[in-house]
């Protein structure tokens, strides 16, 4: 290798010249000029039923429009007032809700959880002792999801938290980012414990009221009485299939808020005004700063297409650098509803995209596209096309995995027992009971209202085909004990459910 050492002449004039050289600002162009057309085309490309886009700049809502249909069956159009689920975008609200209590001196970020919920307990006593409010909001508990405790179950918030003590850590405490909804439910319960007010009422009184978010709610329970509501959809075999709204009240603080892009604009304006809205202070500047202060490394950026080096989590919100700007962002997803919000304090810019179709990555694509349009010197990329290509590749990979699975199926085996021998109730300490019954010659799986028909796969493993179009199939494997009796069933993603013997069932009041 050529290793010549080069030296340069010393010319102070050159330094001056370098210092004086500066970029000439480009000619201003309306960053939203082409957005309407772009969204229309992208919605078709992705086969998304309906979506709404909101853009906030310099404390005003500069764009709030709907595209497509609320429900493919009715074709009623989405507009800026159509209600969607914002899903996990609710987490930022729970964090700021606690921030209000920090402002009032009733909570400190580094308070132990047990200071407020004395019965709170996790698997490891060290973690129980050390877990703080900050930890609850930063996905560093070391627990991986455990969402089956709340998703579709009758357990209330407190019961969900009580049950999570049985969840074995997946990673050593605070060593690894692991998305954790139940810790946010716990954060919500702290609000309730400190204020004596439900999380829902607190959010209504302290945010919805002052921000004029009259249409926004924290529960699906009032939806039947409302007019302009988007229906969730799931794409099944390329077709848009409407699915029911999912009630997630028992996980409310982690994701139950429903809103529209116009009202989300008020939330973004409050964020960008450092906690003020219409001259009224909602939350202090220091709490706003704390929320967007890096707290936990969230791992590598989710895609290599973005010019991003740091991907971290604040309090209930994610942070990244993008073209040299700090972007505060989050996604949300629940049955048939996917959303994305992002704001850039340095540009005084906020974006929200709400969609009523699963799966899609159009929400992220549109956010990136809009950010690009506002970032000086950046040529907006065709994010919809870039993500669509990646999305299709991922789908193909999933299909090929399915084929591998088919190939791994052992042909010509039979269950070790006649089907009635598998029927019964099985119980998991954390996830509760599931039942397996024989109906019209087939085993049927039921857990908290989620029903699926079981198809023999091989040996004592069965595939469950769920009734709900959103549920992908799962494989249950039964275990026999030494005497040859069926004693337990393993459910991937949850663990082993022990069979409840008849005597036990009998003694159960």
């Amino acid at each position: 290798m050529d290793r010549r050492i080069r030296r340069t002449l010393l010319t102070p004039v050159a330094i001056l010249a370098l210092c004086l050289a500066s970029a000439v600002p480009g000619v201003a162009q309306d960053p939203l000029a082409d957005l309407d057309r772009y969204v229309r085309q992208a919605r078709e490309d992705w086969n998304v039923a309906g979506l709404a886009v909101g853009v906030v700049r310099h404390d005003s809502l500069v764009f709030a429009r709907g595209f497509g249909a609320r429900d493919v069956r009715t074709g009623e159009p989405v507009n800026g007032e159509t209600l969607f689920a914002i899903g996990s975008n609710s987490k930022a609200w729970t964090a700021l809700g606690l921030g209000i209590l920090v402002d009032e001196g009733r909570v400190r970020w580094d308070d132990r959880v047990t200071d407020h919920l004395s019965w709170f307990q996790l698997y490891d006593p060290y973690v129980t002792r050390e877990m703080t409010v900050r930890d609850l909001l930063t996905h560093r508990s070391g627990l991986s999801r455990g969402d089956a405790i709340w998703y579709g179950t009758p357990y209330d918030r407190e019961e969900v938290i009580r049950r999570v003590r049985s969840l074995e850590p997946s990673w050593s405490f605070r060593s690894h980012y692991g998305y954790q909804n139940i810790m946010f439910i716990t954060a919500g319960q702290i609000i309730e414990s400190v204020t004596g007010m439900t999380w829902d009422r607190f959010i209504e009184e302290r945010f919805f009221g002052p921000l004029g978010m009259d249409a926004s709610v924290t529960s699906t329970d009032s939806l039947p009485t409302r007019g302009n509501v988007a229906q969730p959809h799931v794409i099944v075999d390329g077709e848009l299939v409407p699915v029911p709204w999912r009630d997630i009240d028992n996980a409310g603080p982690a994701g139950s808020i429903l809103s529209n892009v116009t009202e989300m604009g008020a939330w973004l304006r409050m964020q960008l005004a450092h906690g003020e809205f219409g001259r009224r202070r909602i939350v202090s500047d220091s709490v706003i700063e704390e929320q967007r202060t890096p707290q936990m490394i969230a791992g590598a950026a989710p895609d290599t297409l973005q010019p991003t080096h740091f991907y971290v989590y604040g309090l209930g919100i994610a942070l990244k650098d993008y073209h040299g700007y700090k972007v505060v962002h989050h996604g949300g997803g629940i049955d048939g509803m996917l959303s994305q919000t992002a704001f850039v304090p340095e540009l005084d810019l906020g974006v929200v995209v709400l969609t009523n179709t699963e799966p899609n990555n159009l929400h992220s694509a549109l956010v990136n596209r809009i950010l690009d349009a506002y970032i000086p010197g950046v040529e907006p990329r065709d994010w919809s096309a870039l993500y669509l290509e990646r999305f299709r590749r991922d789908q193909e990979r999933a299909d090929s995995l399915r084929q591998v699975r088919e190939a791994d199926r052992v042909p010509g085996t039979a269950p070790s027992h006649p089907l009635p021998a598998y029927a019964g109730t099985y119980e998991h300490e954390m996830y509760g009971p599931l039942t397996i019954e024989l109906e019209q010659g087939a085993l049927v799986f039921r857990r908290h209202g989620n029903r699926g028909v079981m198809v023999h796969w091989h040996y004592d493993t069965f595939r469950v085909d769920f009734d709900h179009p959103r549920e992908s199939d799962n494989f249950l494997t039964f275990d026999l004990d030494r005497t040859g009796d069926v004693v337990s069933v393993e459910v991937p993603g949850m663990g082993v459910f022990q069979r409840v013997t008849e005597e036990e069932e009998g003694t159960d009041p």
């Binding site: 290798m1 080069r6 030296r7 102070p12 890096p294 740091f310 340095e346």
Partner: protein, 512 residues
Amino acid sequence: MRRVTMPWLLLSAATATTLAGASPTGAQQELVGLDDYIEEAMEDWGIAGMSVAIVRDGEIIYARGFGVRDVSTGEPVNEQTLFAIGSNSKLFTAVAAGMLVDEGLMAWDAKITEYLPWFQLYDPYLTREFTLRDALSHRSGLGRRGDALWYGTEYTRKEVIRRVRHLVPSSSFRSRYGYQNIMVLTAGEAIANAAGRSWDDFIDQRIFAPLAMDRSNTSVKPLGRAPNVAQPHEATSEGPKPIPWRDIDNVAPAGSINSSASEMAHWLEFLLQWGEYEGQRLLEEETIQTIMSPHTITGNPSDTLAPSRHFSAYGLGVGLSDYKAHKIQSHTGGIDGMLSNVTTIPELNVGWVILTNTSYNGLYTALSDYLLDTFLGGDRKDWSAIALEQWDEGQERAAAAVARLDEERAEGTHPSLALQAYEGVYTDPMYGELRVTNEADGLRLSWGPQQDIPLEHWHYDTFVAEGSSLAGDRTFVTFHLDAQAEVEDVEVSGLGDFQRRAAPLPGTTPGA
């Protein structure tokens, strides 16, 4: 004091080694004026000697020495002069661990107790959970403490690690960043165990040799025989004053490497080539990516001077941040009279090393900031002037703090007891024995490397050890009495509480 022009420095700058090299080319346009900037800034800071190398696209585009190795000899620094790189050694330790990860002999998430079964921290949960990755990323919760265990002490590496088990955590495990030399030392000992040879031999054979860093070493011990070595200096109002080299062999994996700008340039090439040097792969690319990825948040940069910086984190033995839309990998190093900086910008394939032999100076970081602006474009600030201003403000704050302490001193108080009552041996499980003796001119304190430090009465039962480097310039020593008015313990600021060893009761001495 530093703004006064020092004639000796001007002189040495004029005699600085001139390297034979090509005339300036377009590619090196950025470096025009750099020599002048460095020379002026060195004068402003009162730095004896300095050596700088810059690597871009696999080539050394700049390598030069400035000033003198030793003000008492006036011998010039060149790009081959050896300096201590201090904590820039930490990345060498991380890379060494990475090589063993590549070979399957170590794993980032393996527990330290797998390599050092006797390893123990204060809390059993930490002992059980503490990993190699934790050891290299300053998240133990022990904070920047315990340095007195190794600094100037006779303890071996192993003994330093054994003693740290008594250090009570200052923050909950992995909840915040806390710079921890002894944990990096622990990683080094784990490496030695996994590799079956000393950390020093491993660094020498696996890094120095393939990178042609022939003069670089891991200890001050061979420096006496080596030619072209910079002497450490302390900045004083009369200019830099030579001070002895500090032997830190007992914490070596955290900071003992000595090297030159020209040999560190090879290291920069290796880092910028993602683990390759002159076509030879020394480290898997994935492994060096892990080393260079964020592990611990180090703070929330809200620097008005660098508004484009939003994130700052620690990787494994390296600091990481964003600046002007690029990822910056950087670390500083400092030990008695030696301050250094190593910085790389992979996206621009450029990096530099800055070695200085005078402390304190702010130029080792300010020049790096200046080079960041040079290569990243946009506004280029006079970072040395900014750092000088900040340094002056810091000095004023420190002086005000000292004045405040003086004001808070209670007047007209006396020690509760006669001075001989304070005599005795005091012990701490981590820091060992501390001895207080009563001499003709008053109390004296002896502990570890510090012997017979005179204690002046401050107020009540507090004494001050002025000017000793026990724990900062001014160490307060407070004795506590028990209900029987006997001295039961002594609190030494910066070290902690030492319990008095009970005098054996008469007639209970074994064998009596």
